[in-house]
């Protein structure tokens, strides 16, 4: 009995090695921070960390679905910048208008992506690269290349700066809800299973009569909507719509998704592990900020980009070994 259980655990660990690794790494980094820095475990650091990373988690969730179909969405950063401007313009009407407005604007860009990819049959990275350009241009046009200040009188800034029940930032409550819904959707609904089937083999899914195009349209709309949400958090958390933000966000999102064990070739993925991946990447920056504060390293803002790239590089190296191992198993 005991033997059997131990065997199962080992099997589980082997099958989910990537997602287990990311949780272990996350825990280890938290422990490291708690031991090394005085204020690391403070309520303030905890809540501001979650608040800041809510937008990255939102984008990573959308990206996870796109990557599971074997696609990619490079437009998320610019779309978030665009929707942050939209949200800032809508902020006087309160959160009840700004939230649907920003999300719909994001979904609009998702629709352009979906149209180009599904109807015009343009490879996802070209289509989303072009949308990235269009969203960047669009954000600069509607903002007049200025940072757009939000209305502080309405309830808009509560979203990014207030606390739900005095405990958690609102942004993280919304993202937690989204995680739950998307996680269930992936496991329990037809569209979720179709998404995974497409990543496994698009031709086979088509031949089996699965609604491939509908599921593909869904993932790009979802990714656009998630980017819209991230733009909303950006505007309400920092009090301004920022047309020049969002550079490199797609890289963060892809890294978070991949570190969570989702294969870049699609067909396999995990929503909770993606969130863990996004938190891990955020925590790396949090720890570096603390080191910076202690004066052990001096760390200019430009390093962020380099570290994001290095993080993705490390993750991909690990994953390419995992994939090589799997292919060996299949081959033998």
């Amino acid at each position: 009995m005991l033997d059997e259980m131990a065997f199962d655990l080992r099997k589980y660990l082997r099958r989910n090695s990537a997602s287990v690794t990311v949780w272990v790494a996350l825990l280890a980094l938290i422990l490291f921070g708690l031991m090394r820095y005085d204020n690391f475990g403070s309520a303030y650091n905890f809540s501001s960390f979650l608040n800041y990373n809510a937008m990255f988690i939102a984008i990573a969730l959308g990206m996870c679905f796109v990557i599971m179909t074997g696609g990619i969405d490079l437009s998320v950063g610019s779309v978030a910048a665009f929707t942050s401007v939209v949200a800032a313009y809508l902020s006087p009407y309160g959160i009840q208008v700004a939230l649907p407005g920003a999300v719909l604007a994001g979904i609009g860009f998702g629709a352009i992506n979906a149209f180009c990819i599904i109807v015009l049959r343009i490879p996802p990275f070209i289509a989303t690269l072009a949308t990235m350009l269009a969203a960047k241009g669009g954000a600069l046009v509607i903002s007049g290349a200025q940072t757009i200040s939000v209305d502080w009188g309405s309830n808009f800034t509560k979203l990014g700066m207030g606390q739900a029940l005095g405990l958690f930032p609102w942004a993280i409550v919304i993202v937690a809800g989204l995680t739950l819904v998307l996680g269930l959707m992936l496991e329990k609904t037809t569209i979720g299973r179709t998404v995974l089937a497409i990543g496994g083999s698009e031709d086979a899914s088509n031949l089996m009569g699965l609604k491939v195009n509908r599921a593909k349209a869904f993932v790009y709309l979802l990714s656009g909507g998630c980017a819209g949400l991230a733009g909303l958090f950006l505007a309400s958390g920092f009090g301004a719509g920022q047309p020049l933000e969002g550079i490199g966000w797609e890289l963060s999102a892809i890294a978070s998704v991949v570190v969570g064990g989702t294969l870049l070739t699609g067909g396999m993925g995990s929503i909770p592990a993606t969130v863990a991946g996004a938190l891990l990447l955020g925590l790396v920056f949090n720890v570096l900020n603390f080191e910076n504060g202690q004066g052990t390293i001096s760390f200019s803002a430009y390093w962020q980009m380099v570290i994001r790239g290095g993080f993705l590089f490390a993750v991909i190296l690990l994953q390419s070994r995992v994939i090589a191992k799997q292919q060996k198993v299949i081959g033998s």
Binding site: I72, L74, C116, L120, R121, I122, P123, F125, I126, A127, L129, A130, T131, L133, A134, K136, G137, G138, L140, V141, A145, I247, G248, E250, L251, I254, L264, T265, S300, A301, Y302, W303, Q304, M305, V306, I307, R308, G309, G310, L312, F313, I316, L317, S320, I323, A324
Partner: protein, 325 residues
């Protein structure tokens, strides 16, 4: 049967890959000579040649990478990196003490670093089997980050006539970099049509597995394509810095990957690989530059021009599907 849209047979059977581009070029020229003030002047030609050369040089490298069925998103970042390094070298103590050596090093070392970036991309793609988009995305972001770390994000201005020759020199009255682009094009054209390496390049793009099974040096050729692309991007980065007599790591080569991909595709490269129209890439670069110039000269804002460029890329890739038949 097929539900995708198709062009009429007679049009589709034409060698459209070139004609489409030439028609677009002719239309742009006619439009500009009618509506754009001062278009038919020598000065306009010079300005456009000096701008188009950088796009063309990068687009030729991109064409090689696309011919293997890959893509290189890092070209703009490599431009920024090479461009940031050059002034650092000839403004250093060593460069100030030996101006000639300084300039020589300021050209060689950035190209070497660019080549290393290409090795990185190539090894990721060919040896570790990472998808080209993801592999080159790493340098796309962090390459520019490294350039900004090196320069601390500052604009480096300088006055160095011998280095600036790269961007402002003239041979027979035409800008130096235009000639450079032509020479590179001729060399690459020869390599692709005559050298073994070029045949393997096209074979890999056509059918990588077949090329591998027939004993082709698949990995080496693929890495080579990324290295050439990166070195050419580095060259383009140096030229941009030389034109401006200043290096701005945040702006040098910004969005160049899109221009280069668009130019390669407009010039007839197939995203699935297997074709490397080098002179097509130059034609594509000229079209992209003319579109930019047309929008700019007619008072369209930069931001709107971005959206127009996005539309052109989508249109070019969409049109490409009709050629396969």
């Amino acid at each position: 049967m097929e539900r995708t849209m198709k062009l009429p047979k007679r049009v589709a059977s034409m060698p459209l890959r070139f004609h489409g581009g030439i028609v677009a070029l002719a239309a742009l020229l006619v439009f500009n000579s009618l509506f754009t003030p001062n278009f038919l002047q020598l000065q306009t030609l010079f300005v456009n040649i000096s701008q188009v050369a950088t796009i063309a040089i990068v687009a030729m490298g991109m064409t090689l990478v696309i011919a293997t069925g890959g893509i290189d998103l890092s070209v703009g970042a490599v431009m920024a990196l090479a461009g940031a390094l050059a002034p650092l070298i000839f403004l250093s103590d060593l460069g100030a003490a030996n101006p000639a050596l300084g300039v020589a090093l300021a050209i060689m070392l950035p190209l070497l670093v660019a080549g290393l970036c290409g090795v990185f991309n190539g090894v990721m793609v060919a040896v570790l089997n990472v998808q080209p988009i993801i592999a080159t995305l790493i340098l796309f972001i962090s390459g520019r980050g490294i350039a900004q770390v090196l320069t601390n994000g500052n604009l480096q201005t300088f006055s160095n006539p011998s280095f600036s020759y790269l961007g402002t020199g003239k041979i027979l009255g035409l800008p130096f970099q235009g000639w450079l682009a032509l020479v590179i094009a001729c060399v690459l054209f020869w390599v692709i049509t005559r050298a073994t390496w070029g045949r393997y390049l096209l074979a890999i793009g056509g059918n990588e597995r077949a090329a591998f099974l027939s004993g082709g040096p698949v990995r080496r050729v693929k890495i080579g394509a990324y290295v050439i692309c990166a070195v050419l991007s580095g060259f383009a980065g140096l030229i941009v810095v030389a034109i401006n007599s200043a290096s701005d790591a945040a702006r040098n080569g910004n969005l160049m990957e899109l221009d280069a991909i668009a130019a390669a595709v407009v010039g007839g490269a197939l995203l699935q690989g297997g074709r490397a129209p080098i002179f097509g890439a130059i034609l594509g670069a000229v079209i992209i530059q003319l579109v930019k110039y047309t929008l700019l000269a007619n008072g369209v804002e930069d931001e709107v021009a971005l959206i127009a460029k996005a539309a052109i890329i989508i249109l070019a890739v969409w049109m490409q599907q009709f050629r396969r038949t």
